[in-house]
């Protein structure tokens, strides 16, 4: 056949040849015998094609071994580690396979979608027949994309390589170059956050991916740092956890703020539940600023009685807002 062999077919032929070789295949044997490689017009073109294909197979998780022959010092051959190739036995039900499909769709991010789709393809090969199952019908969980920064950061995390990027600080708006050992990527409250060790500051820091400007570059060698101690990681991640911080007492105008009423905590018996014509309810909150931002949205329908830090945060926002539109501020 004189038509050229497409890359997917060539890759497949390479895997099959390497799985079936009794010992190993040298580069020259690959070129001479495996379908598709004879298409390379020059030795250089063959080299590039073969290098790229080896990278692709490793990326797909195919355990490609380099073996040298004791008799021929510089004669390198290749084979596949059959022990490491196979997925350990896994006994998935059709329903569990359905859940895995749902999980693979969680990511809106292209690079994570590719990774989870590949995992799913491999598990599908080992699973029983898919059945139409309504077990996960009607559910659409998703995690938004992390932008251009996420892919390189995932790579850097896996390789434990340091990264450099330009970051716009939230507090000052200043743009600075950062040099970071990436520890973990966290998706919380509507955004992706990188937690890592800031080399210039010598301390753990977190960075919102949406404030990274331009590209993320990997710098230095792989395995450049040890994974963080669990204690340090937990410490750095604490500010992004979602636990409740306290309970606030709010005075609600009659028949208003139904959404706050719906999440009110059960009132204690001794608690007076009416103050000056308003209903008093208690709600749990995570941070005082978050509750304050929600409460000011109700205007005079919701007043904060306790604690003082939430009340003060609300009053401060209201005083500033009351001045809007009067004189330009700078």
């Amino acid at each position: 056949m004189s038509t050229s062999i497409p890359p997917d077919e060539r890759l497949l032929d390479l895997v099959i040849a390497l799985v079936n070789t009794p010992t190993r295949l040298t580069k020259e044997q690959v070129r001479a015998t495996v379908a598709g490689y004879a298409d390379a017009p020059t030795p250089d073109a063959f080299e590039r094609m073969f290098e790229r294909d080896k990278d692709t197979l490793r990326e797909l998780g195919v355990p490609l071994l380099t073996v040298t022959d004791a008799g021929h010092g510089d004669d390198i051959g290749y084979r596949i580690d059959l022990e490491a190739y196979a997925l350990p036995p896994v006994d998935l039900t059709s329903a569990e396979l359905g859940v895995l499909s749902l999980a693979a769709q969680l990511w809106q991010d292209a690079s994570l979608r590719v990774d989870s789709a590949r995992a799913l393809t491999k598990l599908r090969a080992a699973a029983p027949s898919a059945q139409s199952s309504d077990l996960v019908a009607g559910l659409a969980p998703r995690v938004r994309a992390g932008g251009a920064a996420l892919g390189p950061l995932v790579d850097a995390l896996h390789q434990r390589r340091a990264v450099r990027f330009t970051y716009r600080a939230a507090t000052t708006g200043q743009v600075r170059d950062r040099h970071v050992e990436p520890w973990r990527l966290v998706a919380r409250r509507g955004g992706w956050v990188l937690i890592g060790h800031d080399r210039d500051r010598g301390a753990a820091r977190s960075f919102r991916l949406s404030r990274i400007e331009g590209t993320v570059r990997m710098v230095g060698p792989a395995e450049a740092f040890d994974p963080p101690a669990p204690v340090r990681l937990a410490e750095a991640e604490r500010s992004w956890s979602l636990g409740a911080a306290g309970v606030a007492r709010l005075a609600l105008a009659p028949e208003r703020a139904e959404a706050l009423r719906a999440r009110a905590l059960p009132a204690e018996a001794a608690e007076p539940d009416v103050a000056a014509g308003r209903d008093v309810v208690q709600v749990a909150y995570r941070t005082s600023w978050e509750l304050a931002e929600e409460v000011v949205g109700y205007g005079d329908a919701v007043l904060v009685l306790d604690p003082p830090e939430v009340r003060d945060a609300v009053l401060s926002l209201l005083r500033t807002a009351a001045g809007l539109g009067q004189v330009p501020r700078g």
Binding site: I16, N20, L60, P88, D91, T171
Partner: protein, 320 residues
């Protein structure tokens, strides 16, 4: 989008391993199993038929029963040693496990016992073949709303029933409406029900933490055609143009609101253009962000915000 050669190779290898374990599968079954079209399955079989070990003589090639393929059944007769499913790589394991963990931890409590049990067992089994892989990825889905509301929605979705909701909107107005549930959307910002509102005759997104009460009706829900992107907030071009000048600290507005344009200014502050349909929404947004607002155009909106704030300050003064 054209499929990458590498992803196709994985599926081709997966199909051979799958078919080797089974006594054959119909083209449709295989399509469902690997999430592709029946035509793609036939193209995949054609490609596999051409591949094998060097020599590429008939007995070197992966082979299928041609007669049963004519009947729509794919039966493998020669696997050329490719019978084992491929192990998961580190990246693949991390991406799938982080997603499964988020589902089990955050969605699990909102599901009924059967569905929760399947999530947990799937996670356990995948972990058993990948190792715990503590994970450079950590995701939390924000499942908000009352457990009783979540349970009722799950039931209505599973049984295809219509719902009656008591719902309070962003303008703090409560109404009762009948809704055909379409899907439950949970992301890292909160949970929503995408449903067909019968009164509005259109799809609507309901925030679960604003659903005050819910009843599953003894009426089957109709099916409705909705856009796959129905739950994505886009700027509404018919809205009023509002321009905000904000301090850097308020950058979250540019990240979470449906903004049309963002301009970074040299001093670190920035301007955003928003299309605003609801004054309630923009007033609430500006009250919450008041400390970081440098300017609002048109001025009428700034004055509306100021008046709302002044009314609230007066109410605090009147407190005993």
């Amino acid at each position: 989008m054209a499929e990458r050669a590498s992803d196709r190779v994985l599926r081709l290898l997966g199909m051979v391993a799958y078919l080797d374990r089974t006594s054959g599968a119909s083209v449709e079954q295989l399509a469902a199993q690997f999430g592709v079209s029946p035509d793609q399955v036939l193209a995949d079989v054609e490609t596999l038929w051409l591949t094998g070990t060097p020599g590429y003589q008939p007995y070197d090639l992966i082979d299928f029963d041609a007669f049963s393929l004519e009947q729509g059944m794919v039966t493998l007769t020669e696997a050329r040693g490719m019978t084992r499913p491929l192990r998961l790589g580190a990246r693949e394991a991390v991406a799938l496990l982080a997603a499964l963990r988020a589902l089990a931890q955050d969605l699990g409590p909102a599901l009924d016992d059967d569905r929760r049990a399947v999530l947990t067992s799937a996670l356990t089994k995948v972990q058993a073949v990948t190792g715990p892989s503590a994970g450079p990825l950590d995701v939390q889905l924000q499942v908000t709303g009352d457990p009783h509301v979540q349970a009722a929605l799950a039931q209505a979705l599973a049984t295809g029933r219509r719902l009656r909701l008591r719902y309070v909107n962003a303008a703090d107005r409560t109404s009762e409406r009948e809704v055909d549930p379409i899907r439950l959307v949970a992301d890292d910002g909160g949970s929503y029900l995408l449903g067909w509102c019968l009164a509005a005759g259109a799809e609507r997104l309901f925030r679960l933490d604003r659903v005050l009460d819910v009843a599953v009706l003894d009426v089957p829900a109709d099916t409705h055609q909705v856009d796959a992107r129905a739950e994505v907030f886009d700027p509404d071009p018919s809205g009023e143009l509002v321009r905000l000048h904000l301090r850097s600290r308020a950058r979250w507005i540019a990240e979470s609101a449906p903004v049309e344009a963002v301009r970074n200014l040299p001093d670190g502050s920035f301007e955003v253009d928003l299309r605003v349909v609801s004054h309630t929404w923009i007033v609430q947004l500006l009250l919450g962000a008041a400390g970081d607002v440098l300017d609002v155009q048109p001025q009428s909106i700034a004055l509306e915000v100021a008046a709302t704030a002044q009314a609230a300050l007066d109410a605090y003064e009147e407190q005993p």
